[in-house]
Symmetry: none
Subunit: 182 residues, 4 copies
DNA sequence: CATGAATGAGTGTTCATTCAT
DNA sequence: AATGAATGAACACTCATTCAT
């Protein structure tokens, strides 16, 4: 099963979306087409599994980061989360791009990253009521989640040439902190 | 040509991506399949044109907003831009979603929205040096562009149930202003 | 594979070249169109295989004739070869005509019949040096191959009404013998 | 009309048979597709005209040769006819090959060259009864026509490397004369 | 006469899926 | 469980032909 998904990724990266045929995936995976259908009911299921695997990998990193910084000051947490998001997008930017722009998704149960991040932030914020006061947490989470998603993604992949990666990350943290402290 | 693109949109919204066949587009557009191929070399070209049209429509709105507020105070400009982005995403959220998640793109010359926004912001910032000081404009533009993209998109489509649209927009403006004034 | 080629021939003879569509071939062959493409990469490949099969069949007859008359006097050999060529053209004149005038070929590795015959004759001549003398064998082969091809083909298909098949064959042999003995 | 046929030839030679579309012919000819249909009822008609033009050109040469040598000795006539056939095949061997192997024909009223040649030879033979005696002219014509066709064509295009063009032509004449004098 | 946009039947080909072995 | 030959619906695309201008 893992081999099949890996094969799908390999085909995707080597030859593009239009080359992903079930037969080709089977061939690259080194199994028969029949075996592919033993594990996946149809082609969509392969795409969904591909997305889910990718999403779970990223979510795991984020959760670990939050847990690791449960007791840390806010700035450290945010810095770590920016780091995590940038890494996630840097790790395999090509795959990430292809997966989100080329491979039909939605319809898998996966909400978008920014949406999932909001939940994470609500928990992190609730745990820091004394530091942040009793402002509406869903509002903070909404803004922070979107800032983190966009700035992390942007720092990794959409920086202007004059901006170094370190500067972009630093600026992302600064912007989020400024917002929180206002 | 416009009729063909409209037909493609109609098919896309009515029956989903997998229903967009060149023959079906022609049928809905009320032209023969031959005529479709007189104007578009192949199916991909239809998708690219669809994207380009959509992107140009959004860019036009943004530009008009910036021009209309060229002399206005920063807060008014930001408020108007948030409004424009939210509207763009609200106008036809289904089409927008489908276009960016279902229809294979890239390979048209279109950079992502956040990237195009950075350019717009650099101009707007350069024109307000006296108000903003001489801080590095590409850095400000980088952050603002990503905030606007993410928060605008989020306000329209990813709000938590406790947050009204007006509140989300207001908060987006506030966050951007806070960042700028820090 | 053989069934597919047979079907192609059947379609060709029944309905003419323009009726040979891959789907029709599959239908007549009693296999699915998918199976046709499992064995032939594209339509041209079917034509090429058709030609090759036809050519090989004829070449086999010629070779057998030569072998069978390896020790026979020249006249007997020539008589047998005329017979073989006439038969080849008479056996299925329609198919032969269609194959060479209607079905695009060349590009398969097949040289023309007259060219292949030259090789055969060179061998047959080399084996009869004592009977024929040491005249340049490639010159004899050149003339004989072309005479055999043309007169055999002509006897089968282009006889004037006053000339019986037997007479035409007899005259062909006579002409070739006369040339050889001059 | 001539321009259209020329364009067809140009397309044929440049891009092969499968590239000959009526629209392309019109484009290369510099006329509109409508005009093509003003002069030719359909595509087949273009092919037929192409063949007819080619055939008439060759037939004209043969006739001129026969007329020019009406009073000449047999050997001179045969030598001149071999020359004419070789020239016809050498002039534009590519076009000739394509026309006879790639472009569907038959169904135009044109009989094959060897068949048309038989008629020519019958006349030439009848005019030389005193030289040739009263042998059955259709039999002589049958053999000579096929020899001329095959050896002329072969001398131009299917010579073995050891045989020069001059030798091949000389041998063709010799073979025909030998046959006639036997 | 000329034009060329429009037509649409028909073609080659693909590829997700099945199922007997 | 694994195989892979076979399937055939469905698709993108072509191109001979028409006809209003």
């Amino acid at each position: 099963m893992e081999a099949i998904l890996d094969a799908a990724v390999r085909v995707l990266k080597r030859d593009g979306v239009s080359a992903i045929t079930t037969n080709r995936i089977a061939e690259i995976a080194g199994v028969s087409i029949g075996s592919v259908y033993q594990y996946f009911p149809d082609k969509r299921a392969i795409f969904i599994a591909l997305h889910r695997r990718h999403v779970e990998e990223i979510d795991r990193r984020i959760e670990q980061t939050v847990i690791a910084h449960a007791a840390a000051p806010l700035e450290a947490l945010l810095r770590a989360m920016v780091e995590a998001v940038v890494e996630a997008h840097s790790a395999d930017p090509v795959l990430h791009e292809l997966l989100s722009t080329q491979v039909p998704h939605r319809g898998d149960g996966t909400r978008e990253f920014a949406q999932r991040l909001q939940g994470v932030f609500r928990l992190a914020i609730s745990a820091r009521t004394n530091e942040l006061g009793r402002r509406r947490p869903e509002r903070l989470a909404f803004v922070l989640a979107h800032m983190l998603d966009a700035l992390g993604h942007g720092a990794a992949l959409r920086r202007p040439p004059e901006l170094s990666l370190a500067e972009a990350k630093q600026e992302a943290v600064r912007a989020m902190l400024t917002y929180l402290k206002a």
